[in-house]
C-alpha cells in the first residue's frame, strides 16, 4: 500500500485525539477493526481481468 498516498496517515495521531477516534476510544477501535476486515478480504479476480482488458483494448486501438 505504501507509495499510494503522498501523505499517508498524515497527522493521524493528533487528529484522532481531537475527534475521539483514536486507539483509546472504543468507537475508533471498532471502526478500524470493521474496516480492516473489509480491506483484507480477498479481491475478486474480475478487477484484475478488467484492467487487463482495458490495457489490451488500448494498445490494440492506438487511438492516440
Amino acid at each position: 500500500m505504501s507509495g499510494m498516498d503522498k501523505n499517508p496517515r498524515r497527522g493521524q495521531g493528533g487528529q484522532n485525539k481531537a475527534d475521539g477516534l483514536g486507539s483509546n476510544s472504543e468507537i475508533g477501535r471498532k471502526l478500524k477493526q470493521y474496516y480492516d476486515e473489509l480491506v483484507t478480504e480477498q479481491v475478486p479476480d474480475r478487477f484484475a481481468d478488467l484492467l487487463r482488458q482495458l490495457d489490451t483494448k488500448e494498445s490494440g486501438s492506438k487511438k492516440e
Binding site: 500500500m1 476510544s25 472504543e26 471498532k30 478487477f47 482495458l54
Partner: protein, 184 residues
C-alpha cells in the same frame, strides 16, 4: 502519446482493497460494492489524463467512487439522506455482557447512520484521510466533515451504549441510562 503506463495500472490495483472497503461501507452490499469498484476503475482509466501526477491518487479514486455511488442512488430514485438538522430515530443495540461490543453489533449500528455521517466517519476514522482530504472527496467544507464525524461518533456511542473516550464499556446502570436516551 502518453498511454497508460504500468505505474498507473499498478497503483489502481493496489488501491482496489481500500476502494472495496469504502464501497462496502457506503452501500452495505458486497455485490453493489463490486459494481461500484468496477465503474470506478473504468472511469479512472478513461480519465487518467485528468489526474495530476503527484497528487493523491487514493483520494481521487475515492472521489470517483463516491460520485458514482450517489449518482446510482439517484438513478434508483432513492433520496440521498441528508442528516443535517434531521433527528433520526435511534435504535438501541444492547452490547453483550461486560459491555464488550462485537463487530456484528458495531456493523448494525453503523448501518443506521445516514450516508453522509457514515462516509465521514469512515474516511476519517478508518481510511486514514485528513479532514481536508475528506472534505475534498465529499465536496463540502472541512467544518461540515468535522461536525458529521462528531455526530456519527456520538450516535454510535448512544446506540452501542458507550460513553466518551478511553472507556471499555459501561457498567449496568449507565448502560440503561444511555439505552433509554438512544430510543428517544
Amino acid at each position: 502519446m502518453a498511454g497508460h503506463d504500468a505505474t498507473f495500472k499498478d497503483d489502481l490495483i493496489k488501491a482496489i482493497p481500500s476502494l472495496r472497503a469504502f464501497a462496502i461501507s457506503l452501500s452495505q452490499r458486497n455485490d453493489r460494492a463490486d459494481d461500484l469498484v468496477q465503474e470506478t476503475l473504468v472511469k479512472a482509466w478513461d480519465k487518467q489524463a485528468s489526474f495530476q501526477m503527484g497528487t493523491n491518487l487514493k483520494a481521487w479514486l475515492f472521489t470517483i467512487l463516491r460520485n458514482e455511488f450517489y449518482s446510482q442512488m439517484r438513478k434508483r430514485g432513492r433520496e440521498v439522506q441528508d442528516s443535517d438538522g434531521v433527528i433520526t430515530a435511534g435504535v438501541a443495540i444492547h452490547p453483550g455482557q461486560q459491555g464488550a461490543i462485537d463487530l456484528k453489533d458495531f456493523r448494525k449500528a453503523l448501518e443506521t447512520l445516514p450516508e453522509d455521517q457514515r462516509e465521514a466517519i469512515i474516511l476519517i476514522g478508518a481510511s486514514g484521510f485528513s479532514y481536508e482530504e475528506a472534505a475534498e472527496i465529499c465536496g463540502v467544507a472541512v467544518g461540515t466533515i468535522k461536525s458529521r464525524v462528531s455526530r456519527a461518533r456520538t450516535r454510535l456511542q448512544e446506540i452501542l451504549g458507550i460513553d466518551g473516550e478511553g472507556d471499555f464499556g459501561p457498567d449496568a446502570i449507565s448502560s440503561q441510562v444511555l439505552g433509554s436516551v438512544a430510543v428517544v
